[in-house]
Amino acid sequence: MTNIVVLVKQVPDTYSERKLAAGDNTLDREAADAVLDEINERAIEEALVIKEANEGEVTVVCVGPDRANDAIRKALSMGADKAVHVSDEALHGADILQTSKVLAKAVGTVEGVDLIIAGNEASDGRGGAVPAVLAELLGLPQLTHARKVTVEGGTVKVERETADEGITHLEASLPALISVNEKINEPRYPSFKGIMAAKKKPVEKLTAADLGLDGEVGLANAASTVLESAPKPPREAGQRVDDEGDGGVKVAEYLASQKLI
């Protein structure tokens, strides 16, 4: 039996325009459609596959505003059993460290956790540090950037894939934390039955105070501050190469000058 916690986050849909709020440089959540981050769908899928093989319970843990409830419902309709939702105005502007602290406390409310599964990075902030920080806070082995996961008895093995190191093989005894990349699986669609059943699944709502973190979190207490933001500059016109019989050579010379070949 493997009891699994999956961390999920609601993010602005990557298809809609994403921007930062003018006042405090935090994410403008109203500006875009909000969806369950796709990498989290993969994390849930992996948890469900493990659960189907080994039995156990899948709990989703989410830190986010009230409307993140939609993302939680989706996770539950895919097949997760229950949810913990930390929602608190006081968390507005929380940075990576604070979010990880809140997550650590929230995960602590779930009993008998064997495995925590996260996406390797959210599609909005793209910090990609939460899984590692959380593992550190909880004192768990971290097996990040997994593109393949196997759980056997009390051990978890992953194929880790990064741009720098290529593929490495990691193994740890449970409990442990893993983060998955986009190659891990193809997430299922929630079944109609699952959608109907999700309505009745328990979602525990917690505030920062419930977790004993009152006054420690939020923009004012963040360790990092966004001072300024600017939109991506429009793309500049590229360099044109006129082909007078030597086009190939010119292109190659250009690429070499940019150290691309």
Binding site: D70, R73, K74, S77, R188, Y189, P190, S191, F192, K193, G194, I195, M196, A198, K199
Partner: protein, 427 residues
């Protein structure tokens, strides 16, 4: 009812996601016959667990029907009064996606609308197989017949067609019907032909309506019987798909019957009750027509969304065409149509929730209005897009061709008028 509930909205989002990911990129392949609609529909079914749900629901319903039939047969054996029609007592009330439980009435309609935003042909193929073919077998069949044909149709493992129209009898389907069966021993021999049959070219199982040649002189009044045929039966030929104006994702064809021998087990309902076949066909009309409202809604929503986007982005004389009032008029009319048709769909859901069924006149009124609205909106969308609208790349021309079919099938719109009038003038 003003809007979908949270659960219904989640179903809508989930299906939209499926449509965007699995169907939109494939529309051209589907429309050009490179990809069969059935594979996509089966994937839809398995992705949402509809195949499993349909199998469970049909199996359970067949099992309880078996018990009723056994009890009915026992009662018949012990009582002189005899006559039991237990097998027809309780037709399964099926939404498009199988028996609809409380709170699930809207799911099928939502799915139809979402699919129609991109590919109405898929819905025609699905609706005929599931709503008409499976619907008829499961509502009219004995437990044995349902186990033989109904169960696999309900899961889309087998594809069904439903054949009533003939070259010389469309609107006048029953009176003008030329396809006949005559008794031979226990069974029947079928001769004739059908046309414009959705899924006809590829169907595994076909529900066919035919007139019983009982020797009476008035051919128009002979009883209509309903039979279930399997593809490949001797004397039964299925044509290749006919070329047509739109809904290319739904194959349409002809069926030919040349001395096809039908065992008695292929007859749905009883051979003696004269009106049986007509009732069977008519009971499908209302369901089919109500479904057209949900289809029309999808076409209208998609056209409107694309038009708003295009009007904002297409610039002429240095300004978006959305600034021109004649363009605004088009958008406004589309929005009015969208609101009206959406309200009709909500009305259908409310009717189901109240455990009522829409009357034929009511269903015909919805069909008439919503098919016209969809056709007008889609043609106006083509106009709003200008030359781009006439080009396939911008998709609205496909929706315009597809929408037109809604004015013809499920009873032509002129026939809807007569059915509405008959309802009004009946008393």
């Amino acid at each position: 009812m003003l809007e979908w509930s949270d659960t219904e909205a989640l179903v809508q989002r989930t299906i939209r996601e499926f449509v965007d990911k699995e169907i939109r990129p494939q529309v051209d392949a589907l429309e050009h016959g490179e990809l069969a609609p059935y594979e996509v529909l089966r994937k839809l079914f398995s992705s949402f667990g509809l195949d499993v749900a349909a199998r469970e629901a049909t199996e359970a319903s067949i099992a309880s029907q078996r018990e009723r039939e056994a009890a009915g047969a026992a009662a018949e054996a012990t009582s002189d009064a005899g006559a039991s029609t237990s097998s027809q007592e309780k037709p399964v009330k099926g939404g498009l996606f199988g028996p609809a439980g409380a709170g699930q009435e809207a799911m099928g309609l939502i799915a139809v609308t979402e699919l129609c935003r991109v590919c109405p042909g898929l819905v025609a193929a699905l609706g005929v197989s599931l709503g008409l073919a499976a619907g008829t077998v499961n509502a009219r069949g004995t437990a044995a017949q349902r186990a033989r044909w109904g169960a696999e149709l309900a899961t889309l493992d087998k594809i069904g067609a439903w054949a009533i129209t003939e070259p010389d009898s469309g609107s006048d389907a029953f009176g003008g019907m030329q396809t006949t069966v005559r008794k031979q021993g226990d069974g029947y021999v079928l001769n004739g032909q059908k046309t414009f049959i959705t899924n006809g070219p590829f169907a595994d199982i076909v529900v066919v309506y035919a007139k019983l040649d009982d020797g009476t002189t008035d051919r128009r009044r002979r009883p209509v019987l309903t039979f279930v045929l399997d593809s490949g039966m001797p004397g039964f030929t299925q044509s290749r798909p006919l070329r047509k104006m739109g809904i290319h994702s739904s194959p349409t064809g002809e069926l030919f019957f040349d001395d096809v021998y039908l065992e008695p087990e292929r007859l749905l309902g009883s051979a003696t009750a004269g009106a049986e076949g007509k009732d069977s066909a008519r009971s499908n009309f209302a369901t089919e027509r109500v479904g057209v409202a949900a289809m029309a809604l999808g076409i209208i929503e998609e056209c409107l969304a694309r038009c708003v986007d295009y009007a904002n982005n297409r610039k002429l004389w240095g300004q978006p065409i959305a600034d021109f009032q004649l363009v605004q008029l088009k958008l406004a009319k589309m929005e009015v149509a969208r609101m009206n048709v959406q309200n009709l769909v909500y009305r259908v859901v409310e009717t189901m929730r109240a455990e009522r069924t829409s009357s034929l006149a009511e269903a015909s009124a919805m069909k008439l209005y919503s098919s016209q609205a969809a056709t007008e909106v889609a043609l106006e969308a083509v106009q709003l897009f200008g030359g781009n609208g006439y080009m396939a790349e911008y998709r609205v021309e496909q929706l315009a061709r597809d929408a037109k079919s809604l004015e013809i099938y499920a009873g032509s719109n002129e026939i809807q008028v007569t059915h509405i009038a008959r309802g009004l003038l009946a008393n």
